[in-house]
Amino acid sequence: MSYKSLFFLLFLLVALFHESISHARSIDPLLGLEALRKGFVDTTDFTAEITQEKQFSIMKRTMTTTGVVRFKKPDIFFMEIKPPYSSRLLLRDNTIEQSNGKDNNKNRIILPPEQSLKQWFSKLTTPFTKIPDGVDLRADLTASNYTLYISPFKKGMVKELAITFQADGIIRKVVINEQNGDKTTMTFRKFKKNIGLSESDLSL
């Protein structure tokens, strides 16, 4: 094989590979929402390592934290952030308990019933036939990754939330864009689902 044809072949491979990894194709948002729901139907629990990057728009600084998240149906979410910003959070339905650092002081916050975790996940039990009220929804598909972009109509703190996931329910990334221009990117690694998390895995 001549250098010319080898170069052409390489160019073709790179072009195809680049196309397959980088081209985001817009899809019907309802299709994206259904992909999320279906991916989550058979998930009883999951655990993942996370890296959270908060970009402060005005300060030109980024704060990076790492940790783990665990979730168990129907309504328990646990997050532990490693030092130096150590914190542990447990959300059980609509009650948040949080402890920071080694002093072990716990905060307790009760969320309004409409923000309960059980209620949110109950929405994923039946197929979506229309876009949920109060939000604008967009979706795209890049290789095997779906991304749903959710923008609340009501002007609050969050401008847009984007969740990137696979059809099998594995979450890759969550991006939160705030009205003030700040952006938080939470990247998931070592995502494992249905591993049989116990109560002790989900306590502060």
């Binding site: 910003y85 402890s99 650092g101």
Partner: protein, 230 residues
Amino acid sequence: MNKLKYILAFYILFLISSCAHTPPPPLVYNQGAVVETMSTGISLSLQTPERSISGSGFMVYRRPDKIHMILLSPFGTTVFEVFALGNKITLVYPSQGVAYTGPINQLPKKGGAQGWSLMRWVMDADPVGMTKINGTYGRVNNQGSKEDITVINGLITVKSNSDGDKVYYENYSLINGVPVASEIDIRNKQNDRIRLKLQESEVNTHLNDAVFIPRLDGIKLLPLSELKLD
């Protein structure tokens, strides 16, 4: 062979206990070094008789009296911002779309709000090394108030005022040639306690004026007198 094991174990224990009790060497710094600006990650814990709050966030400071502090939710979104500029303070709650502004002396007496009124006093540190002899001294500070300071190796470790407010500065380290306490523990007369841990601090770097100006687009601005903290 057993004897050798015991000797080795004893030696390791001795080394460990020696390490645990050896105080860190005193910091070597240039006399007169001072924090003019700081941008730093923070872990904050506020305990009051009524409630306790904790979280992480970010703070920028410009000497002597400009502070902007951001507290974040565990998911990284902004929960609360404080802008203290001279005698004016603005508290912003983005999720509620509301902010309160007014003179610092109009902060509510309860709910930990009084702690914010001490931030200038806490952050406005002297140039280091001005007092050479270790000990506790009474003085009038650069805001014209009387206070007691405790100095060790030229660094202020405790400050207290006649109102019963007290601040402890701990774990000094050198950043950009300036000694900076990475743990600050504030107790006030209302029995509130604020603990502040500074992380990934940058000292005496350029800060734009814009970082000290509250961003209030779409936020309802109310007078501080309307702030109610339970």
